[in-house]
Subunit: 251 residues, 8 copies
């Protein structure tokens, strides 16, 4: 409802001043005391709120999972521990946990997967982050193609998958160590590439900072970067792009 409509209804006595005030001032979130759940987000942005589980107290986690599940009919948490899985499962037995990506979720089983996102990783050690990206994208309704272990030091592995890369609406490139994967892919495709540096490596990789710098300095076009190990953020943004490509498809 637009401001003008509300005012018109006040003028017309179709709405009381108090109702109008409440409407204009009302809080689009649930107050839990310790947290303010953004239950309107699914309507406002088309994505339900996701829980960052790391370090959350058990009691907080339980409240948040139940409340979000009740509001949205689905719920997802990232960086969940085995212990947190047990805590949530006691309340919501249908919850699923993936040890590699550490994602804890109840998916909406009726959601149709659309479009095509390619998630690729440079090495096998990058797979946990790549899976966080892939499963996030799937949770939000994207079809995902996984292409793992295609680091640039053996470029033939990557080149042999060129067709798969070129058919994507968006590519997520996950790499640690020197992080050069995103640049090479960026030069081969015409869709946007979201680069995810990982903390995989040792010494001067400085927990992923080196890979982050490599990716930010990429000389390829169409590459943007999210935080180190932030598979979730990449999966989210790739879904935004994938959805826009697809929703317009039928427009």
């Amino acid at each position: 409802m637009e401001i003008r409509e509300i005012l018109q209804q006040v003028k017309d006595k179709a709405m009381t001043v108090e109702e109008a005030e409440g409407y204009l001032k009302r809080r689009p979130y649930d107050e839990l005391g310790f947290a303010k759940l953004d239950v309107h987000r699914k309507i406002r942005q088309g994505f339900s709120e996701v829980v960052y589980c790391e370090g959350k107290k058990d009691e907080y986690l339980k409240d948040i999972f139940v409340r979000l599940y009740e509001s949205n009919g689905e719920v997802m948490g990232t960086r969940a521990s085995e212990h947190q899985y047990e805590v949530v499962r006691a309340l919501l037995p249908q919850v699923e946990y993936d040890r590699e990506s550490r994602i804890l979720k109840i998916s909406d089983s009726h959601r149709r997967k659309i479009g095509n996102i390619v998630v690729c990783s440079a090495g096998t050690a990058d797979i946990p982050v790549a899976e966080e990206a892939a499963q996030t994208a799937e949770f939000f309704g994207s079809s995902v193609t996984r292409i793992y272990d295609v680091g640039v030091s053996g470029i033939h592995r990557l080149l042999s998958q060129l067709e798969a890369f070129q058919s994507a609406n968006c590519i997520i490139a996950v790499a640690g160590m020197e992080g050069a994967l995103a640049s090479v892919i960026g030069g081969l495709v015409s869709c946007p590439v979201i680069a995810v540096p990982t903390s995989v490596g040792y010494g001067a990789n400085m927990h992923g900072l080196s890979a982050l710098l490599t990716m930010i300095n990429s000389c390829a076009n169409g590459v943007a970067v999210v935080n180190i190990d932030n598979g979730y953020g990449a999966g989210y943004m790739a879904t935004q792009i994938n959805r826009q490509s697809c929703s317009k498809e039928k427009g």
Copy 2:
């Protein structure tokens, strides 16, 4: 032409071994000696190659501009100096130069602008980078809405433009100093946000590194980051997203 077709023609003697070898090995670029121009890029990726002018020698710059213009019927350079404008104009008098963004270009006047990209900046000092982004997006055929001077320390300026933000296919958020603009916008819209840190500021901003870190650590969803002052990169990627949204529109 697919490999299989080539092989078939060889078998059928429709193509000599030498021709086929040339085809399989041929270089999809122009060799200038000092540079290898990627003249096929417009076909391969849908974007013609853009020239990074800073520090290019005059003789190189002239060759590259002429060759690209002849191949593509349009040409764009970034970070061009006044002097470089003069150098190119001597050969290509129709070239245009914008002192603020330092973009040097001959646009294809027949190109229709499609979709909608919002380019916003935190302060007036960020405008040169914002303009590089906006004009790049326009050069590649995107419609652009500019919303400048909406930094987060006066949040009402930003909130009063909410509708404009929410109608975009992609938003480019340009900010120096503390770089918080991208996070606030990311929380208000459902389209992807490309964050561009700028080197505007002083002291502990460390030439934009501080704004870059702010943006990479954004707690908002749907935000990815390009290099400091890289308006061009943001304009390019925003166009990729904008095009995918639109081209599907009529599909």
Copy 3:
């Protein structure tokens, strides 16, 4: 007593040379051998000395807590462990321990709370630091309003609390990740804002350094910054400001 008064008394024989010498040279601290307790601080600065517990040996901790409690009738320690709580409780059974903020204290129950400090946090993970700030301010006699989980990526949560923010004498803004909270608040209020970066986050937040840089580079006026996770320091300085506002109230 001023130097001039002492000298006058010496001249008048109202004080012996030895007494005067002792007065002029005396050490305003308790010598414990391993430490020099600043027992005069409550008189000099209006705040009793607070104990930074982390890493203190048990025997040192006990001595210090008892000595300060005896001098001041109240005592507070920060970053105390569960174990240290047990150690101190054995000697001072009335001591209280808060697991979230890790504050260990015996408050002066007769102290009236004055003024108004708002302590806000960006996320739920920032609450331990926010509580350290809030409880420090309360220990020193300030009234505190807590507003948690109002990070900038959901700006409506913050805006709906605007009145509460605008009624404060001082605001403490606690945020990790990208740390943009302080800038947004700084632009909305007319009182000073003390920004506390936290180490909450991962990857390129570099244990809070990124949030610290964001806050130091804030483009909002009236924002100053304390060390990462230094809730105590913020609570202390906010109390100084709050007291000055109030003590003058009755002047």
Copy 4:
């Protein structure tokens, strides 16, 4: 005017729907195209907007200075160059320029200076930043006491001024090189200390970063830090504190 009042007036037909809509939506800033001047700030926060001159184009600068002067009857710019002084003086001949602090301003001559802020500097090379702080505080109506060249490597210089320090409502401590001044002062006074690191020094001071780190890590209570060389920010916040202390004085 509160929302409820507006609504009541709409109901009572004392205000049209259009007027009310305008009021609820109106922009509290002047749109200059390239900038959005916050002309309401003086009313909202009690401080008129100040212009950061560095790098501003001449035409922008002229527009902004004239507009702010017309709105507020006073105007101040920081980091102005000699050239910018000439540009503004052509339009506003009464403008004053201080070469040391690089402040360009038209002060309100009727404003009474209140309270007491001490601005101190470690060395003579820190004076330009100290003067930016001092003159900002004076512009906003604070009385200022200057105590320069009292660095900690000659501690007797500082100690001999103890009374002056202890009489302040707020102290601004400006120091480059090792930046230890703020800690020493913080331990001697009961009012808040705003620390300003400067870029004075060489080698491992890294353009002020070292002094910033020193100050952020201060073991003294009641010290908070602003950006390197940010005298303006310190003068602003000190004025907030000074005003609160004084305005309550007569309450």
Copy 5:
């Protein structure tokens, strides 16, 4: 087989189109799903692929070790844990494990050691990295001379071994702390020096970054650097150089 030969055979019907297509497109790696083993590397580069064991899951590790051993008749892993040794030994009982260098391997017992590589270390704490380098070089067929504990703070220890250094085809200099070893050696010999910074040290060595910077800034000629603690990388490259020197020997 060269492309031209394949085409000729197609033309001559000595090869079908399908065979030729397969040959031109075929993947020179084994697809394990989670990984793409580069089993052709031994042929392509003369070195079999080596496994970086740290963090590899047991099931992955087992598959990879067996597959590589079957392909190459030898296999080596670096940074293997005691546990991983047990896991692999259960399948390949002939595997050997060295606790100091953490190398896990089955060597080809028939390989003749050739040439001469000197591996030296600055301190005894650098020996694990030095051993990783030495054993890698030996695995790939190089003769190795070890000279340990010859740091520059007791230069006579190094100088007394001068002849040994001067007889090498390549020297690997392993040092933590200040990392000056490589510069001193670089000035004394005529063969290339590969410098390996180690994370040995404390405080401002920043986990080896300081030694890395020292080595990168070496004023000696003929020094190049690999990653912190990367003994493997140094052993590999030294072997490349050693082999080239020797293989030509008989050419």
Copy 6:
């Protein structure tokens, strides 16, 4: 002459004590007062000393160039300015200066070029550093193949030159921005790769530090790194490797 021989001659009175002392203590360098020229280096290491010209005073430069030329019959300086060229040419008219690489030299025209070093660059802006490497290698007697503008964002340009890369004794990979070139090449060849990060780029490349980190973290085998923009160092070490390969050729 061995120590034992000297002692024997002393014993036999074939050498005086003074002569022997002089021999055992003698300085293998020329004392110029301000500098100690290492005129024996050509004999000891097989390379004559090279002059780092940047910032050298004119009088020093002249002395050094003349002395080295007289000793060695050839002389080379790096990072020479146009002005320094004039200064040296006044004394040694046969000196040659290359503006791109800034190398100033008198080559030994009789030296035969041997072996094969490939010098490649990612972009045209990296050519000055690549040329410093190439001309250094040529000065010391290596044959050099140049392959420029083959950055990884257009991987086809690099792949089409594969044969040239695979025929080298050593490859020098010169790249700024994200510096990924070395990793891709390292995976394609069997000879050592010397990676040279350049300061080409902007923003988060931090004057080449980002490229340096990328290269140091390379996941390819057989890659080692020299300092940012240190083409000379790479050319020197590549020559060491090339010589060893070749000199053994005839052994």
Copy 7:
């Protein structure tokens, strides 16, 4: 014995050629295989070699302690663990261990303590490093005065000890957090000050790097800095200075 003397004796047949050769070539260290013990250091530099225990294997540690004790009649290790104490005590039961400083030693009980070194610390948490410095100086024969907990945030504690400071031959200033102690002391005394940054602190102290930078940037004269937590290094150098002052005393 000078070279000339040796040669003269050879000439005079007072020494055989073999003896002379042995003398000129002999290694002034004990070869343990894994280590080269510098047993001549006590003669050469007047200090016996000290063992850095952290991370040393048990078998290495035992060999080294016994060998050094046998050579020198005294032995000291730094950063020893409780476990290492047990290991060494089994062989050398007279060894003493101090849990605070982690020093493990057998002192020469006949050594007279000379001169005067003041070791001061900013806080109680800095005492372990201060004790490492103090006990090192005592082991090497210096008299030490300890003045702890005199940080600059309570400057009266330091000033009340002024006489003690001014009577020293050398002062060691140990401080973490903001590290300002060294500057204040440097301005009050005329003897050299050795500053030891400690890793005490949190947040932006970055494990002592911040204190190190403060100290390196000290504006006081006569201050030099050793590595973070390097109490040993400070104690060693202070002893050198103290000895020179004293040994000359009787000269």
Copy 8:
């Protein structure tokens, strides 16, 4: 005069209360308004105050030079420009200026040089910093031996000067690039070594930070470090040590 004496005189009416108060509170420095000259320093610490000229305004510089010269009969400035030399010479024609070290001074011609300090540099480019150190030490009355261009990449140059090094009371080691000089010297001598990193170098030397880290991490004993390019600080501290050694000489 001791406090007790003053009090006694007050009691005895030998001193008025006002005189005593003045004495107890008096400022031991000259107030110039903009600066507080420490004219007592020569008496208190035995060194007259030295002027850091860089960036000082002409009028300030003149006042300071004249005042210090009048007080002390000698005066020295560091980092003086040619222009500043002219400014001072107009008032004090006997002032001397050294272009290399940028020292501007009037020495006390009657001062006898005592003791022995060795100042050594790694390269010729480090000489300006080395000269600042040497001339500072000489100004304060030390004898100085210069040994330049003895960098560790040609270790024989350094070793041939061993006797000179071993005869010093203190050594100043000046080095840029990798900064390894201090470690090598520290292992060869028994006197203290003051290490001065210089900003000489390029690329990853980061304006001297790399050399600073090398020196701080030195594994040699008896090495402490001053700021990058701080020749003055090293010369000052070396003089303190040299004086203590010598003054005791005649004690």
